[in-house]
């Protein structure tokens, strides 16, 4: 039985003092200040859950919110889309519940993008502007849907404005997670990342690094290196999950 190869890293970048991002792979969670890429070989006999949560920068306790969100759904086995959506809603409530404990935590929030690899299906659910991409046949397709304001014709999106997050407001507000389910093929690669990656590197570059690297670990290392070289103004988190190619397992 072949394993799903997952490489994850989170890093505070070059400008921020703290890392308010959190990554989680099959329940292993990290918010390390300057993390190293870590490689997991996960047996896909049960659904594999990976996620990236990006605590709202400049807000109170962004890191706390992202860790809470990650903890709230990082170690569950999700079998269908509705379950994931429900878990994201529950994580939203957890963040608000935590907020109630201490007035200083009021308004803390986090984005989240969750990927569940369940057999031959992949479920992607997101709230906020952390992204999930599928790399197949050298084309990188975005599966997540950004919660950003639709710009006026001819104008660019304001990257810093997010229309919904887990938490993020003073009073409890529900969320409408975006969910998509796609079939998984041998050789597919799923990239989860915070906007610290996509704001620094153009999609063309990310695509080229993913398609050009020999293995997921090299790809993540290169992406992190490139982001840091580009200035890394925000925390950067990358999770890359690679489904094994057909020829790696039994020949089909």
């Amino acid at each position: 039985m072949t394993h799903i190869d997952v490489v994850a890293v989170t890093h505070r970048g070059r400008k921020r003092d703290h890392n308010e991002d959190t990554v989680s792979v099959a329940g292993f969670q990290s918010g390390a200040v300057e993390g190293q890429p870590v490689r997991f070989a996960v047996d896909p006999i049960r659904p594999v859950t990976c996620l990236v949560a990006d605590g709202l920068g400049g807000q109170a306790e962004g890191g706390r919110a992202s860790r809470l969100a990650a903890t709230a759904m990082g170690d569950f086995f999700f079998h269908d889309r509705e379950a994931v959506v429900k878990a994201v809603r529950a994580a939203n409530e957890v963040v608000y519940a935590e907020m109630a404990l201490n007035p200083a935590w009021s308004g803390m929030g986090s984005t989240v993008v969750v990927l569940v690899l369940a057999g031959d299906r992949a479920i992607c659910v997101n709230v906020g502007d952390s992204r999930c991409f599928l790399l197949r046949d050298s084309h990188m397709v975005q599966l997540s849907q950004d919660d950003s304001v639709t710009p006026a014709p001819g104008e660019a999106t304001v990257a810093t404005v997010v229309t919904q997050t887990l938490g993020g407001r003073a009073r409890m507000t529900g969320v409408e997670p975006h969910a998509i389910e796609v079939g998984v093929r041998p050789g597919d690669q799923f990239l989860l990342c915070s906007d610290g990656l996509t704001d620094e590197l153009p999609p063309e570059r990310i695509e080229a690094e993913l398609a050009g690297a020999a293995d997921p670990r090299t790809a993540v290392e290169r992406l992190l290196r490139a982001t840091l070289d580009a200035g890394a103004r925000d925390n950067v988190s990358i999770v890359l999950a690679a489904v094994p190619c057909a020829e790696e397992g039994r020949d089909q």
């Binding site: 599928l134 197949r136 046949d137 084309h139 990188m140 397709v141 975005q142 599966l143 997540s144 849907q145 639709t150 710009p151 006026a152 014709p153 001819g154 104008e155 660019a156 999106t157 990257a159 975006h178 998509i180 796609v182 079939g183 999609p203 063309e204 695509e207």
Partner: protein
């Protein structure tokens, strides 16, 4: 009916334009060597465009022409046939073409100048009934056919001579746009003329400014020319057309259909040209679109009349330029229009201004972080950020959110063709889909693939770059092949006939690959690219033998020819029209075959050397085997017969050493031992003997 300006202008510079253009023996007529189809159709001065119409009728005023009318003894290349010489006096030659000569003559009885058109053949079928109708036709509308006949090796017709030339020449001198009242003069002359011709059951099929002759300027009197024998010539020849003819032909003429409605379309184009100053198929610099582009536009597009400012005029031109012949304006509608009415225009398709497509929705689509609600702007953005567009279309396979948003947006903007392009797309070919979407969003833009324009000129440049080994060009050309991009571009501006080209290209490549497979040659990716490039070049019409020479060269390669499969390939010559893939296969496999031959030679040489070495080793081994008994015998001799040991001893040692290489090690040891001891004995014996000899003496 008056046209003061032109009249004066015309009188003051009579015939200059025409004579410049159409003096006999100048370019056009020179090109019309006898027997070429083109000139057949365009017997001088008749059907061809104005420039090629030396003087049937529109010759300048006599006496100012280059060929010197007043010369009492002009050189006459063509003589009047005897039949005609009795009735007419030769004045001068007006021109010649592939089929006919034109002479200006004077009627001996009336003194009137006429034009004689002499067809240099007698086998022309003459529709007597029609010609008689023409001869008796109302001269107000059609140029008069005075007589016709056949004899002395010719068929001839006598035509009225119109001294003021054609409408085309007038337009050359007084460039359009013309004032409305002058355009109206032309309309008032042409519409009744067409109505009249139709009423006689005649369709001109080729009305254009060059075929509208000016009988008088003040009042304006225009007549239609070339209803006569030239029509028979056209009917008996598959005639080539040119841009200036196609530019006035209705859409249905492309399929070869003409009807009484056809001439009204031509009138519409003439009106358009007079009102806007430019033919719809003319570039701003006055050059004409090429034939194929005109055809593709006629097939697929509306002609935009937005350049005509006046509503009433625009209505007329829309009515006349109705694509469906039966719904096109004819005699009744034009008459109603002239009377100030507004007959309905049937064409249901809205007249689209290429600059401003109809946008009915405010929906905004976000592409790479920027909002768009204008299809043209989005098309431009997709062309500019090709990678982003490719990823967007790659989302089709998984119904990615951005892909669905694009589809939704196009539906809201009523871009049915673009939505259709998405529906018809292929998941594995996102760039093909992208190309189709861009073209559906902005149909007027020249097709562009991954930053490279694909119109004829640019495609050839791309091919040149690819042949010059530019990796980017090679890769793009490869994608264009795999995604069938040329077919998508078919019949867009500058891409006429691309579907056919693409089809030939693919069939050629597939045929070549089949041949390679037949002979069992696998080629590298680079060779495959080269093969495709070469066959693209050879797929252009008339280029299928472009590589015949290098292919023949390759087929003569003696090294390659020693491969039987290559000989089979060389011998298996296909039909001439399918030779291009064969050429490509030969050129590609000849080096492979030659290399195989060289490899075989090297292998044979290596085998020969190995064989020789084995033979040497064999003989040595045989020797070694014989050495075992020989060594033993010599050893025994050396041991037993001491004096002989002097020779047998070393021999035994030698054979013994050789015998060590066999498995008889003990025998070898014995031979060496006996030989050695025998030699020592022999030495002692000899020394004793010598000692005795010395002492004894």
């Amino acid at each position: 009916m008056t046209d003061e300006g032109p009249v004066r202008g015309m009188a003051s510079v009579p015939g200059t334009v025409r004579d410049q253009i159409a003096a006999p023996g100048t370019t056009r007529d020179a090109a019309g060597a006898p027997g070429t189809t083109r000139d057949a159709a365009g017997a001088p001065g008749t059907t061809r465009d104005g420039s090629g119409a030396p003087g049937t009728t529109r010759d300048g005023a006599p006496g100012t022409t280059r060929d010197g009318g007043p010369d009492p003894e002009p050189f006459a290349r063509v003589n009047l046939p005897p039949t005609l010489r009795r009735r007419y006096e030769y004045v001068r030659e007006l021109g010649a073409g592939g089929e006919a000569d034109l002479l200006l003559v004077r009627d001996l009885s009336s003194g009137e100048e006429c034009v004689v058109r002499l067809y240099r053949r007698q086998d022309l079928p003459l529709d007597e009934e029609k010609l008689n109708r023409l001869r008796t036709a109302d001269p107000r509308h059609l140029i008069a056919l005075r007589d016709y006949g056949r004899g002395d090796g010719y068929v001839w017709e006598i035509l009225e001579y119109a001294p003021y030339g054609s409408l085309e020449q007038l337009m050359g001198r007084y460039p359009a746009p013309w004032p409305a009242d002058k355009v109206l003069d032309v309309f008032d002359q042409l519409a009744p003329a067409i109505t009249y011709a139709n009423s006689l059951g005649m369709v001109h099929r080729d009305i254009k400014p060059g075929n509208v002759l000016i009988r008088s300027m003040n009042p304006a009197d225009l007549v239609l020319a070339d209803f006569g024998l030239t029509k028979f010539i056209e009917a008996t020849h598959a005639h080539g057309t040119n841009s200036r003819t196609s530019a006035y032909a209705p859409p249905e003429a492309i399929a070869g259909h003409t009807s009484k409605w056809s001439d009204w379309w031509s009138l519409g184009i003439i009106m358009f040209e007079l009102l806007t100053g430019r033919n719809p198929f003319q570039n701003p610099d006055g050059s004409w679109f090429n034939e194929q582009v005109i055809t593709s536009i006629l097939i697929s597009r509306e002609i935009s009349v937005s350049g005509i400012a006046d509503d009433h005029w625009r209505l007329l031109v829309r009515g006349l330029l109705t694509r469906v012949p039966e719904k096109r304006w004819g005699p009744e509608q034009t008459a109603a229009w002239r009377a100030g009415g507004k007959p309905p225009v049937a064409d249901p398709e809205p007249v689209r201004d290429p600059g401003r497509p109809i946008t009915r929705s405010n929906a905004t689509f976000v592409f790479e972080g920027v909002g768009y609600n204008d299809p043209l702007a989005l098309a431009a953005a997709l062309r500019h950020d090709w990678g982003g567009g490719r990823r967007l279309l790659a989302g089709r396979a998984v119904k990615a959110p951005t892909y669905l948003a694009l589809k939704d947006w196009m539906t809201k903007h009523e871009r049915a063709e673009a939505v259709q392009a998405l529906n018809d797309g292929v998941d594995e070919r996102p760039e093909r889909g992208l190309m189709q979407v861009i073209m559906a969003l902005d149909p007027q833009a020249p097709p562009e693939f991954n930053g490279r324009r694909l119109d004829d000129e640019n495609l050839r440049a791309l091919t040149r770059d690819a042949i010059a080994n530019q990796p980017a060009a090679r890769q793009i050309l490869g994608q264009i092949y795999e995604d069938g991009i040329l077919t998508i571009c078919d019949d867009t501006p500058g891409c006429a006939g691309y579907a056919l080209l693409d089809d030939r290209w693919h069939r050629n490549v597939e045929a070549a690959q089949a041949r390679l497979q037949q002979v069992g040659v696998t080629i590298s990716q680079g060779d495959l690219q080269t093969l495709r490039m070469q066959l693209l070049v050879a797929s252009y019409a008339g280029q299928d033998h472009l590589f015949a020479e290098p292919a023949a060269e390759a087929a003569r390669n003696p090294e390659a020819l020693s491969q039987p499969w290559f000989r089979t390939l060389v011998a298996d010559r296909p039909a001439p029209e399918h030779e291009a893939p064969w050429h490509a296969a030969l050129m590609l496999t000849a080096p492979v075959a030659a290399q195989q031959t060289r490899d075989q030679h090297v292998a044979a040489e290596r085998r020969r050397l190995e064989e020789e070495q084995r033979r040497i080793a064999q003989s040595r081994a045989n020797m070694d085997r014989i050495s075992v008994p020989l060594g033993l015998v010599c050893g025994v001799i050396a041991f037993c017969a001491p004096p002989a040991g002097a020779i047998a001893g070393p021999a035994a040692v030698y054979f013994g050493v050789r015998a060590r290489r066999t498995r008889h090690k003990a025998a070898s040891t014995w031979a060496i031992g006996l030989g050695g001891v025998g030699f020592v004995f022999a030495a002692i014996t000899i020394m004793v003997y010598l000692n005795n000899l010395v002492n004894g003496s």
